[in-house]
Amino acid sequence: MIHEIIFYGRGGQGAVTAANILVEAAMYEGLNGQAFPFFGAERRGAPVTAFARVSDKPILKHGMFNTADILVVFDQGLVASGVVSRVRLRNNGVLIVNTPERGLDLSRVASEGGFKAYAVDATRIAHDLKLVIAGWPVVNTAMLGALVGAVKLVGIESVKKAIVNYFGEKAGAVNAQAAERAYAEVKLVKEV
Amino acid sequence: MSLEVVNPVHGKLPITKPLKGVAGKTGLWRTERPVVDNGKCTRCFTCETYCPVNVIRVEPETGVSIDLDYCKGCGVCAEVCPVKAISMVPETG
């Protein structure tokens, strides 16, 4: 079973890193994976996408995609403003949004059919854990935790291990904690 | 690290070895030949030092000898000789 995932964030929020860590975690579980940035130049603050594929079979596809099984949005503003409608969710897809709200406005989400919407307050988790760099809350690791909380692609332990491998012992521990909290806190808020 | 120089199985290589007369018997290019007066010669080595064809040998006993097979007859030796012991004469042959 192949899962195609799009991470939607702003430049500097670490969407590409999240995709890479997911592949690393998939690798620990003997799965195949692919992670890539949008092919082009990115600028800090501008909306960015990162892509991942996870599968139990060899992945032959390499092309970019704009229809995903899972859409992970780092910033609810991107949902409300309709920026995320540049990509579409497949039928029975999953949307995971970083937001303190439970009542999400999903009118501007593009989808091929029904989908489930999950929410997690990754910004609060980041603030609680003092995961703030240059004034920006670091939400990517929390969103990874939320992703595997909502869809059991890989186990949270693998995600935590991959995070520590990426960030090193010290920064890795805090980020792993963020992932673990989001994993526990992510909630299904709406079925469309 | 170790290195093995092994001949290729196919094809020739663009390599050369030091060789005398790569441009042929360059003495044939000459229109004038140097003639040495070894009585005048002081064995100062100036002509040998400058000879652009590397055909002049100065020996303390015998003086200057020139390999005319390859001397191109440029006349530098005659020009630089401080005692004018070398003169250039037209090739007649």
């Binding site: - | 050369t16 060789l19 790569v22 652009p52 020009e79």
Partner: protein, 301 residues
Amino acid sequence: MSQPRPKQPIPYNMRDAFLPGDAACSGCPIPMGWKTVHAALGGKVIYVIPACCSSVVVGTSPGHSLNATVVHVPFAAAASVASGIAEALEKRGITDVHVVAWAGDGGTADIGLATLSGAAERNNNMIYIMYDNEAYMNTGIQRSSSTPRGAWTTTTPVAGKAEQKKDVAKIMIAHNIPYVATASIAYPHDFYSKLQRAKSIKGFKFIHLHAPCPVGWRFEPQYTVKMARLAVETGLWVLYEYQNGKITLSGPSRPYMDPSKRKPIEEYIKMQGRFRNITQEILEEIRKSVELNWEWIRKFM
């Protein structure tokens, strides 16, 4: 301050520099330079030669006239290929071989300048010798940036070159490399001692060798040495060494610090057919640039 010079004649081993019968034009200064290089560095030299007269002078396959290793490289690549060779030798623990980039003025001052600059900035271990015959002689006497003002070439065929000669030694001094020198084929002992000094230093060494070309400069082949000497005696070409922020004037040029000791530049200019159409105005400009050059040198002494 002057430095002590070796007084002995150039060693006999210069006889082994190359084998007679090469493809140089009559009176060519290039092989004269090789004899001195061989005398100073011995036979364990790897010459890296880009497109220039020397690529033809060494002769045609299956042989080459130089009694050393010769690597022919693309026009703009002498310093970079030499860098690669030098680094590989270092890695292989070979320390008794000298890498000499031997390039003309075109391959150095024009197409190869960026490459030269790169290798100098990296301080790669080589002696770079620019033999300067002041034009693209191999392709038939076209203007280079090292051609002097007023000189006829086939690409400055009517009025002569309007611009002045590029001073590559100065450019190399600006690179803060460990050793820069100028030399002349008329002064092999001076050139020899400079090579001796260069080989004792690790890093990038640059020697700018003045090498009059009878064919391109339009003079009789017997005057190659005379012409090179006149360039020094008129003060047009100054022999010096640059090390650690200081210029040391070399013996043959020392008298000409005093302008009154210099021969008139006309003596040099008038002997060469390439300057036959030179105007009084350009002659004055050349005179002025000679003065400026000496002034510049004095500042670093």
